[in-house]
Every structure is written in structure tokens, then in C-alpha cells.
Amino acid sequence: MDQSHIRNFSIIAHIDHGKSTLADRILELTEAVSAREMREQVLDSMELERERGITIKAQAVRVSWRGHELNLIDTPGHVDFTYEVSRSLQACEGALLVVDAAQGIEAQTLANAYLAIENGLEIVPVANKIDLPAADPVGTAVEVADLLGDDPTHVLRISAKTGDGIAEVLDAIVERVPPPGGDLESPARALVFDSSYDQYRGVVAFVRVVDGSFSTREALRTMATDTRFDAEELGFFSPAMTPVERLAAGEVGYVVTGLKDVSRLRVGDTLTSVRQPAEEALPGYKDVKPMVFAGLFPTDSDDYPELRDALERLKLNDAALMYEAETSQALGFGFRCGFLGLLHMEIVRERLEREFDLDLLVTAPNVAYRVLEKNGDWLEVHNPSDFPREVEEVEEPYVTASIIVPKEHVGAVMELNNDRRGTFGRLEYLSPERVHLVHELPLAEIVLDYYDQLKSRTRGYASFDYDLAGFKPGDLARVDVLVGGEPVDALSLIVHRSLAYDRGRALVEKLREEIPRQMFDIPIQAAIGSRVISRETVKAKRKDVLAKCYGGDISRKRKLLEKQKAGKKRMKQVGAVEVPQEAFLAVLNIGQGQKS
């Protein structure tokens, strides 16, 4: 098809604002799938995505509408995947900005809309769910139009649920979104906007061809990482994989690469032909680096090899996941894993537990620190137990947090951000009722329970997004937890000095509740260096006897003791102290849920 009849677009929407339903209706109306065949929400392929209502991996579907070829490129819906979103948007010329007419714009939508505008996309605003009694299509249209500097009458009013207005949406795409540019005669260039791993076919790249064309079996290479392979198959999704001989400038499709490792084909890289290579790569490639780290340990140490295999397999599909072996004296053998953000961490953890049936113990997450050592060397630290006890200077990552709330909750958000060492940036009214707040916050302050706190302090009304904003110096200290005088590596944490006392005390109190009383007093301490900042004691038991023991009791008592003995063997040994794994689990959980 010639380029003038191609339209490439994506859908920007907040979770639950109806993106998937709209995508389904589009597929239905264009007869890409019959209603009968269609599982609901075809684009979200992973079980996990369905349950969480989010989309992890972008995909692209080609449909026909009134003589045009429309490529719907799905974008991940979350802040952790901003980079992937930006690549997906770069593959499009337009975007549907879908806003729930009963809810208004949310922070995430705003962030992605700005991203789309920055990428020069034509925005087609859509107010969805107009069938809801609580819907305010007019108010929503005004809010959206204000944001875009557009006319409220340009905001389409639809109900993806009832199918009302879907044809108009497709017409608007054809009319308003420009066709792709790109030179068919230039050396071939394609943007890799996503990839996935198929156990039989290897890595499948999702590409937008920008210049020239690619043919099946052609020798290809990536320009940033210089990975070479033959295009085993080219095609597009309809939504089933449909092979074609050629993908030309303006088109969106897939390339079966045969590669066995997804990390060799990075999102944002440029594909070109080996025989006639392009000179310049497409702009914007970044090597995304994990910013949030946590230790993953199998609950049962026998499962370590399974965990290792599972991570290897996940990594095939998730180039952003990083891991290295870690040994903790308290938790045994495991892995220190790096994630793009909290959601990414949650997804990895859930996939490991669900798809690989592993029971995991996950340590409290921490961020990457840059540490200037006494000897003048800079060090990047991913694990609190590697944090030097004496440092010259420490830098921690910051984020620019963007929060949208009804105006009556502004005070609560300000207070929370203050508690979390935030700096106020700016405040703007999106409408007379809704306010957009921007703060700068240390990433470490949002990896704990920030989002939960934000939600609970605004009665669920706040929406939140963030962007990394570089490293800044911080007055940070390493707090160690000692049980029976022995430091417990898995419980060390890096905190701002002003919070060290509270965090240390919370940990120590929780441990006191969780560690069963033993035959001796167990001091539990939190310390910065050699200075103890909090202390509790698990008092020694005063009695532990099996009361009666006569002829009829012996077997039962013996078995009881054997059970007790076996239980002891399962405990984690910290010095002389036996600590049940559940105690670590409980403490790590408060690490994630505690009030600061």
C-alpha cells in the first residue's frame, strides 16, 4: 500500500479508562477479528496483564478502514516503561488520547500525552464512557482541549463499551493523522519499538520501517549494538501473525530474527540492511539502566537452581531486567535484581511466582547510590550491605513527580511530599477542580509505600507519575540491624539521617515481635556504624517443658521433640539465634508498608 493510505497510531489512556475496550471495538468494527472469535481485549496477551489491567509489552495490529491501512501500536501503560512508551510513540504519527469522561485526566495520561506532543504526534482526543451516569463529557472535553490548546468540539465523545462513536474515531484517524513520511529509495532503516521472545522462533522484533524496505531472508544488523541476523520472516499482526515478503517505509510489522537472547536486540535500536547499510541511526536510543534493586531469595533454598533458570528465561523476554548472584548469611543464596521501577519489580516477582511456581522472599527495595569513597573513587552501590560504612559523599537518584488531585487534597499531597524529603516544583490548575502538582523527590522515598500513602491520603483520588531526574547529593547513612550482636545483612538499609532513628526503631520493634523467645536473652539493635540507635530485647523463656511423661506418652513426646528439632534446623541461624524465615518476611514486608 502506498504511504498516503497508511496511518500509524497508538492509544494513550490511564488504566481503566478504556484503552483495551476501545482497541477491541476497533478490531471488531474493522473485522480484523469477528466478535465471536474474539477474546476480550485481544491486545493484552499475558495473563498477568489482564489481571492487573496493564499492558507490559507493546504489540502492533494492522486493520483496514475505508481503503486505508491502520496500524494500532499498543503502548505500555506505566511509568516504569516511559522509555518503551517513547519508542512506541516514535513509531506513530498520531495518538488517540482517551480520557474517562467520569474521571478526567490522570497523571499518567498527562505524562504520556506530553511525550506524544514532544514526539510531534497528532493527538486525537477522545472522551470515553459517555454512557456512564457520572460522565461529564462537556467538562472532560474542556479539560482535554485546554491541555492540548485545542477546541473542545474536536474532542470525540464515545462509549467503547456500547460501541457508540467508534466509526468516528476511525474516520478521525484517517482524516487528522498524517500519513508516514520516509524515503522508499533510501537505505533501509527501521525502529525497533519492542521485542518479544518466542521459544521456537527466538527474538521477534516489532519494527516501524522508516526508510527503504526490508525483504525476507535479507541479512540485517542493528546499528547501536551491531547484532547481525537474517530476517527469517517478515510480517504483521492481523492480529494473527501474517507473513509478507517485504516491509516498506511507513509500515509497521515484525521481524523474526532467530536470535536467542532478547538483550541483543534492544528497544530503540535501528535495524538496517547489511548489504546496503544506512549511515545514520534513528535518534533516541538509550541503554536503560535499572534504578530499583532488591534481593530475591527462594523461600526453600533447594529452589535456587530453579530461580536461576527462571531469571534466565525471563531475561530472554525482558531486556531491562538485570540480576547477579547474591549470598546473604541470613537468607542464603539468591539474586540481587535491578528493575526499571517498582511496577517492573512487582511484575517480575509475580511472573516468577506464577509462571515458574517459585516461593520468593524479596528484600525491601532500594535504589542505586553513587558513593564517593575516602580514597576518592566513585562507586555505584546496589545493595545496602555493600554500602561503605565511611563515605566522603553520597548521591541518590531523584525523580520529578507529577501528581493530579482534586484541589481539596493539595494540602495532603504537599504534606506527604514534605515528609518524603520532596521539594515543591510547581502547581497548576487543569480545571477549577483539579490541580497538577510537580515535586522533586528522592527515588528512595517513593520505592517504599509512597503510592499507597498517596492514595490513602487523597481518598484514592490522586494519580501519580514520575520521571528520573538525575543524581543529587544526600545526607544518607547505612543502618545495620544486629540480632544477638550479629549484623543481619539482609536487613541493612540506607536512609536519610533524619529518618534513620524512626526506621531503625520500626525494624527493631517488628523483629522483637517476630523472633520467638529462646533459651537466652536476644538483644536486637539498629546501629549506624558502631552507634546503636535503637534496642529491644527478646526475653529468654522461663519454662519450656513437656509436662507429663509416662509410659503412654513417650512416643508422642519423642515425636514432638523430633519435630522441634527439625524446626530448629529449618530456622535461619544468625549467630546463636534461630530466626524463622517468616520473621524476615514480616520485617521485609513492613519495610514496604511502614509509615515513615
Partner: protein
Amino acid sequence: MSVRHLYVHLPFCAHRCGYCDFVTATGRDHMHGAYVDALLRELAEEHDSGAVDTIFLGGGTPTYTALPELLRLLRALPPADELTVEANPETVSPELARELRSAGVNRVSLGAQTFQPHLLRVLERRATPRDVERAFGHLREAGFDNLSLDLIYGIPGQTPEHLAADLERAVALGPEHISAYELEAKPGTRFTIAHGRELERQAEQMEDYFERVVTALTAAGYRWYETANFCRDGKRAEHNLAYWLGRDYLGIGVGAVSTLGSERRRNTPKIAQYLQGDYDREIELLDDDTRSRERVMLGLRLDEPLAVDGLRSALDADGLAHAERLGLAVDRGETLALTRRGRFLGGGVTAEILA
């Protein structure tokens, strides 16, 4: 087969107390005769009628058994150096005391439990504190010079003052032997359902009751010779001592357990089945290692050091060293003993020490 220690189980009771987890039977008074017949039959099958060291009649409430039947049983038993009968205070009349004595019984274990009327009600015991003292008097008058009192502590609602008063009254009666048990609230029993929450609430307060018992009784001149047992004048419960020393014993009656060499077995707990001579025994084979571990487990309950000879393989050297470092056990090479504090923590220490 010839064993030195014989246990005879008499399951009948007037009422089953809420906390009780023994094999008991209520409302079966017509079966006493048949039951004694069955006991004697099993005894004849299992024992050659030669003299033994000890016999213990436990229950149930052995003294609730119809007196003629009880006496018929006692007279048919082999001669023994120590013949103990368990008794509930309310069942002990001057006549019963005399008859037991003349039937060869030389030791009675009296289930006093507590001297606080309201706590007796909590335990669903039928005796009054007065009954205990009266029974004690009758037994003394009948010539018994070896009496044991059972006490229970840790009863829901029991204060330290109640406990002190119980110990004082027990000591005042001057028994040769006292058993003091912490109340065990077994999960799922009627008792635990009714009182579990109260017990949990009081758990912290009651934590030192065991120490209080030991302190009060040893101060009164009793020897704390076993975890839950105290005696005067060297009058230990010889029958029970046989258990703690890991000796073989024959148990007859419903639900009775025997340990004979490498075999431990338990008779059916069903009376009807037992009466028909169908013992339906549950058998557990004890290898040398298991018996060694039991020897350690039982031996460490006693105040006399355990002779370790031949038992090393049953010990966990690291655990033992740890227990020693904590001042809970003393390993003298040939013998092993728990310290005073080690005995209070006997269960945990034993789990630590056992391989």
C-alpha cells in the same frame, strides 16, 4: 515374658473432666466385671505370674471401679514391691482405704489438683478441698505411709496467690510425694474451646508458675527429682522411675501402652473391642537409635545425671556445646545433666541436645 513393671488401665469415671485426654469411659458401670475379666485374661496371656518390681493402676478413676471388682483384680495381680493405685478424693472412704491396704496396695496417688473450689469447678473436678483432706486422713488411718498428691497449675483464673495457697495446703498434708503438672490445654478439647482465650491472656503471668512450684516445694524439703515430680525421704515413684530410666514395661487394659524390647504397642482404645479379647494393637518398632534418643529425652527429666555410655550417637555435639555455653547443661564425659535453669527449659534444651 517377664517384665519388672506392670501398668493396669481402669478407664471408668463418674464424669470426664474437660481437660482430660486419657482413655476413659463414663456410663459403663455395668461393664466393670467383664472388664476385670478381660484384664485378667490379657495379663495371663502376657505375663507368667512371677513377681514384679512395680504395679501401677491408673485411669480413668481406678477407685471408681466397683469395689468387689477392683479387689478381685488386685488380688489376682502378681506380687510387687510397689503397688500404686490412683484415686479421686471423693471416692476414698475409710472402707475403701482399708480394703486397698489389705489387698496389698502400698501407695496411693490422690488427684487433688487444686484446693480452690472455683478452680476445681473450672477443671470440672467433683471433689471439694475438704474431700482431699478427708481422703488423705482415711488413707493415713488405713496405714498408708507412701502417698502422692497430684496438683495442677496454670488453671484459667489461677493467681500466684492461689498457687501459693495450693502448695502450702499440699505441703501441710505432708504427702511423701507430689506431682505438679502444668495444665495442658490440648487443641480442640472442650476445655480449650471454653478457656483457651483466658489461658492465652494469662500466659505471661503464668510463665513463672513452674519456678514458683519448684521453689516452694524444694523449700519445704521435697526433692525435685523429675521435671514434674517431688518426693521426700527417698520415696520416688518407683513405677514411673522405670519409664524415665527407659526400662521395659507391660501395660494392660484399653489404650494401654507397653514397651518391650524393640516394640512399643498400644491396645485398642475401644472398650467393646477390648472386652472381646480383640486388642487390635498398634505397633511401633523402636530401633536402637530411637530407644537411645528416648533414653536421653527421659533421662534428662531426672535430677540424677544421665549415664551417657552408649548414648553419644543420640547426641548432637554442637547443640550440646551450645547448651553448655548457655549454662543449661553440664557434660562430664561419662554423665550429662541439666542445670537448674536447664531443667526449667528441659524441652527446648533436650531438642537442642538430641541428634
